[in-house]
Structure formats: C-alpha cells, structure tokens
C-alpha cells in the first residue's frame, strides 16, 4: 500500500482537445485584438484640418460663395456661416474645411445688444463669431424663422448668440465657444482661436494643449 494514488500518465483525449481549443481561442483572440489595432488610422495634422488660428481670414462656407472672404457689410443678426482660411507651409492659402468642426457663425448685432457672458473685447463693433458646431452631438445649428436664437435640428438644442451663445434650451452641455475677431479693411481676421474648448474636447486644458501642439506643428 502506498500513500500516493497512482495517476494515469496518459492524457485523455477530452483533456487534450479542451487544452488545444483553449490555446487556439487564446491565440486567436490575441491576434484579433492586435489586428483590430489597425482599425484606428493615425491622425496627421495638415493645414486644412488645423483648428482656426490667430490671423486666419474668414471665408464663406456656403456653396454659392465658397471661399470668398466674408465682408462686414454682408453681416446681420442671422449667422453667416464661414470657415477660417489660413496659410500652408509653402505660403499658399488653404481653407480649413477638412475639420468640419471649424465651421463658425458670424453675427452682427447692435454693440449695445451684446451682453455678458459674451467676451466684448473679442468682438469688433457688434461683430461676433461663434463656433457653429452644437456642443451636444456635433450637428450644425442655424437660426430659423428669423429668430435670433440658434436652433440645433438634431436634438433641439437652443443658444442665445447675444449672450455668449449660452444654452437656453435642450440638451447641450455648454455654450458654443466664441472666437476673437477684428475688421481689417474689407476682411474679417481672427484675433484668436476658440476661446473655450470647442466640440470634441473634454475641457479647456485639453483644448489649449491641442491648440499649442497644432501651432507648433504648423509653424
């Protein structure tokens, strides 16, 4: 009699198959996960995908006048939709339409109609520029029925452009950010990018870090 139980040295078929299947599944899953890594392409910043930068000129986004500079005389209380136009590394002009969230709305109100939290020193004689991307799900809002309120068609978010584009209805979590602007001759020139974090960025720090990175990359 021995204290030790005699063990069958041979592997059972069932055990072999189970181990083989387990190993196969593990290797397969690992390789699938590594293959999934290719699903997300690398992002390369080009001038047309860069955020609006200081010194950019605003040009029409509308198909009929696409690429023509927005003139101060064309503005009213209803938004003129525009894209920033900057310069490439070789000095040629490039419209930053590769990033749809670069779209901005340009408004002109009576200077006295603009109230806080609008940053008045970022406006020029009642001309004020806001992002035109709803901070909720990234749709393009617009004014309807000649009301000066900005309505988002997707989930009925509403903004008040005379008061810093603050949210006055619907689900958006924060106002659409303002941009600094000044009139130079017949053109509108940006004096700053989005002053607070635009759609797609979690907070102001993340946005500022990205903006700094973009400026360095394109310098």
């Amino acid at each position: 009699m021995t204290r030790y139980k005699k063990q069958d040295p041979e592997l059972t078929r069932r055990k072999f198959i189970n181990v083989a299947m387990g190993t196969g599944a593990a290797v397969g899953t690992l390789s699938l996960v590594s293959a999934l890594g290719i699903a997300k392409p690398v992002f390369r910043l080009t001038a047309d995908k860069a955020p609006p930068l200081k010194g950019d000129v605003l040009v029409h986004a509308d198909a009929a006048k696409y690429g023509q500079p927005v003139k101060p005389s064309e503005l009213s209380e209803l938004a003129v939709i525009a894209y920033p136009m900057g310069r490439n590394k070789d000095g040629s002009t490039v419209i930053r339409a590769g990033e749809p969230n670069n779209q901005v709305g340009v408004y002109k109100f009576e200077p006295s109609a603009l109230q806080a939290p609008t940053k008045i020193d970022a406006t020029d004689n009642g001309i004020v520029v806001y992002s035109n991307t709803c901070t909720h799900a990234g749709c393009f809002p617009k004014s309807v029925n000649n009301q000066f309120i900005v309505n988002c068609p997707c989930h009925s978010g509403q903004y008040e452009p005379r008061q810093g584009c603050k949210v006055i209805g619907g689900p958006p979590p924060k106002p659409m950010p303002q941009l600094g602007v000044k009139v130079e001759g017949e053109q509108l020139v940006l004096t700053s990018s989005f002053l607070t974090s635009p759609y797609g960025y979690k907070n102001d720090e993340e946005w500022e870090a990205y903006l700094k990175q973009a400026e360095e990359l394109l310098a």
Binding site: A61, P100, N145, V167, P171
Partner: protein, 437 residues
C-alpha cells in the same frame, strides 16, 4: 434521378427531418416569415445596388453638372454614384425598394416579437430563440443605420456625425472607439469604405448566421401550437407540412408581399438624395431617424445637458441618453424569459388576457416608446404652440411616466372586466343547463 440523388445525399432523411416540418395554421405565424422574405429581398436588391455603388468619399467631378475647368463641380464619389443609380432604368425604384423593405422588415420583426411576447411563446424551452431574436433586432437596426450613411448626402452626413458623437461619448475609451469604428477623426478619408464593409459584409453575415440559428432552433423545438391544436389533438403537433402544403402558401405570400412593397417603391418616394444634396456646411432642418430609433432620439431631446467627470472619464447626457438608457430598455427585453419561472415546457400559445400583468406591462412598454417617439417631435410641438420652450421638457417627462402607468392600470382593468363578463356568462350557462334537467 431522385434515387440517384437519394443514394448520395440521403434526401429522404432531409425530407423526414426538415421538409415535413409542420406549420401551425394561424395568420399571426406569418409575421416571422414576412421578416424572412424581407431579408431575402433586401439581400437581392442590396447586391444589385452594390454593383452600381462606389464606396468612396473622395471627391469626383459631377458628371451631370461638371461646372467649369477652372471651378469644377465636385461631389463625394458615394453621393455621385447614388445620383447615377437614380439615373439608371428603375434605379431609383431599386433604391426605394431596398429602403422600404428595410423599414418593413423591422416592422414585421417587431410585430413578430409582440406576437411571441403576448402569447407567452418565449417561455421554456424557447428562451434561447428569444435572445437570438433580440440580437437579430439589434443587428437589423445597426444594418439599417449603416445603410443610411452610404448615399453620403447631407442627411447621411448629419446622421453619421451624431452617431460618431454618440460613440465618442463613451467614457474613457470613447475617442479611441469612435476613431476605430469610423476610420479616424470625423469625417475620415476612409469613413465610407469602412461603413460599406460593415453594411455589405459584416452585418449581413451576422444577420444571415443568426437567422439560420433562429430557424434551426425553431425547427428543432417546433412552433408553439395555437389553442385550437389543444382541442384537436392534445400534446400532438398539428399543422400543415412545409412540403408541399406550406411552400405554396409561403411563395404566394412572398410574391404578394414583394409586389406590394414594389408598388410602394414605385409611388412613394423615400430618402430623396437629390433633395438633401451633398454634405454641406448647412445642417438639415427637421432631421429625424427612422421610426424604430425615434424613441432614442426623443430621449436625447428631453434629457437635460450635463457632464460629470469621474476618474478622468466624462459621463455626458449623450452617453446616458443614447447608450445607457437604450441599454436598459434592451436589457429588460432580454430579461423577459427570465421573469418566467415555469418548470414545464410551453406547448400552446396563450391567450394574452390569461396573463394580465404580462399584457399590461407590454402595453405600458409600448406606450412609453410611443411617448418618447413623440418627444422626438419636440421642435415641431413647440413650433405648433402646443408646448413652449420652457415647459416642453417637463410636460414630456411627465407624459413619459404617466401615460405608461395609465395604460398599465387601464389594461388590467379591461382584462378584469372581460374576465368578470366571461365568468358571469359561464355561471349563466351553468344555471340554465341545470334548469333544463
């Protein structure tokens, strides 16, 4: 010939096992079949469309209106090919048939699900098929949504932007997830090829595989028997065999149904790409998802905006409204068979009024979906002055809970009424029967 095939393929065994499958004779059992026929027509029309479609969002010159050499009229290739399909003989009709069929497939699937729920056909042993059916519904929805994006008109562009935003709203991993799913930051250069892959390969593959599983399990477990089968032959399978009795009925139904949808497609336009135009900087007003996703849209419209940061991840209203809330709803539907604790196998379809709580819960659920879908029309409700911007959310939230509660208790009341009448009837018949003695 038959003998030759039989010697090699054992057709007679196939005949015994599958082709003699008994189908219950009741019109409500055709709903699943209609869903299946829609899937088949969708695949056929989809193949035809794929032959003429160009899955790319790079810009090409519009061959219908090329503009000038100095200023060519550029369109995304996918949108351009949608215009070309419309210009083909019956091309527009083919697109519409595909679109209408997709809507009707989901409608038939939902009705089929309601039939299964209200008659208790999801009970043991058919829980697995209920779950596969739920997965089929989810994947059918995903296939429909990816199909929406393919024409790449302005509507599709807005839709995919919102879907990207919803994907990106997942805390911690959202950005990575959205970029992996949609080929980079929106709108990546490869977004249309990626979604094309989903819509014509991945999702239909999943749908076909799961449909096969759904039906094989159904053949193995047999249909629940309608009530008349209980009186006819207790605990026996009653019905008409697939070959050769059910097959002509199925064929006739498939042809009639397809003909009807073709008629729809011929006369009722759906998703006019020319009207929406190519992706542009101006949004689409009155954009709405299809009816089966309107409830999520409504939930997003009435949920107030908020953002909470937890351990570096942002939990937003979007995530709650478009991910967590539908997750709960779908989870509840998944859990339905687990709420039933019966030990015995379910043979017979039940009369819905025999389980008033189940009936009332189903009606309340549908009422809630309906109210939330109406909430999707919030801007229209405000515009028509039924509601105002200030009270819309509050009123719609109250209705979301009050109407389902009312329909729940209302249904229970009606069922009790029916029962009381039925019992009174029985007492009366009994009393008269004694009087006759």
């Amino acid at each position: 010939m038959n003998q030759w095939l039989d010697d090699r393929l054992h057709i007679s065994r196939l005949n015994d096992k599958f082709l003699r499958k008994a189908f219950p004779v009741h019109h409500s059992f055709f709903l699943g079949e209609i869903t299946l026929f829609s899937l088949i027509v969708l695949i056929i029309t989809g193949i035809l469309l794929a032959l003429a479609y160009e899955p790319s969002n790079s810009m090409v010159v519009n061959s219908f209106d090329p503009g000038t050499a100095a200023k060519p009229n550029m369109l995304p290739a996918a949108y351009h090919s949608a215009l070309k399909i419309n210009a083909m003989p019956f091309g527009d009709m083919l697109r519409r048939t595909h679109h209408w069929m997709a809507n009707i497939m989901i409608a038939a699937a939902v009705l089929h699900l309601m039939r299964v729920y209200f008659t208790g056909a999801f009970k043991k042993p058919r829980e697995i098929n209920w779950w596969i059916g739920m997965l089929l519904l989810i994947f059918a929805g995903l296939t429909a949504v990816t199909g929406y994006i393919l024409p790449y008109d302005n509507y599709a562009y807005s839709t995919v932007k919102v879907i990207y935003a919803i994907t990106a709203s997942v805390p911690w991993v959202g950005d990575w997830l959205a970029q992996a799913a949609f080929a980079g930051r929106f709108p990546g250069d490869g977004i249309i090829p990626r979604i094309y892959g989903y819509h014509i390969m991945l999702l239909p593959g999943i749908l076909l595989a799961m449909t096969a599983a759904h039906m094989l399990i159904m053949i193995k477990q047999k249909h629940t028997q309608p009530q008349y089968a209980k009186r006819l032959a207790y605990k026996k399978i009653v019905g008409v065999p697939l070959m050769t009795q059910q097959t002509p009925i199925m064929l006739m139904l498939a042809l009639l149904f397809t003909g009807l949808v073709m008629l729809f497609a011929a006369f009722i336009p759906v998703h006019p790409v020319e009207f929406f135009g190519p992706p542009s900087s101006s949004g689409v007003s009155n954009i709405k998802p299809d009816w089966y996703l309107l409830w999520v849209f409504g939930a997003l419209a009435i949920i107030p905006g908020f953002e909470v940061e937890i351990l570096g991840g942002t939990i937003s209203a979007e995530f709650i409204g478009a991910m967590v809330f539908p997750g709960i709803v779908i989870g509840l539907m998944f859990a339905v068979p687990m709420l039933d604790r019966s030990k015995d196998n379910q043979y017979y379809a039940e009369n819905p009024t025999n389980s008033p709580v189940r009936l009332a819960a189903g009606v309340a659920f549908m009422a809630m979906m309906l109210v939330m879908s109406v909430a999707g029309y919030k801007p229209e409700l405000i515009e028509s002055r039924l509601l105002t911007t200030n009270n819309a959310n509050a009123i719609l939230w109250i209705l979301t809970f009050v109407i389902p509660a009312l329909s729940y208790f209302g249904t229970i009341g009606i069922v009790r009424g029916i029962r009381a009448l039925r019992e009174a009837d029985e007492r009366e018949t009994l009393a008269h029967a004694h009087a006759d003695d």
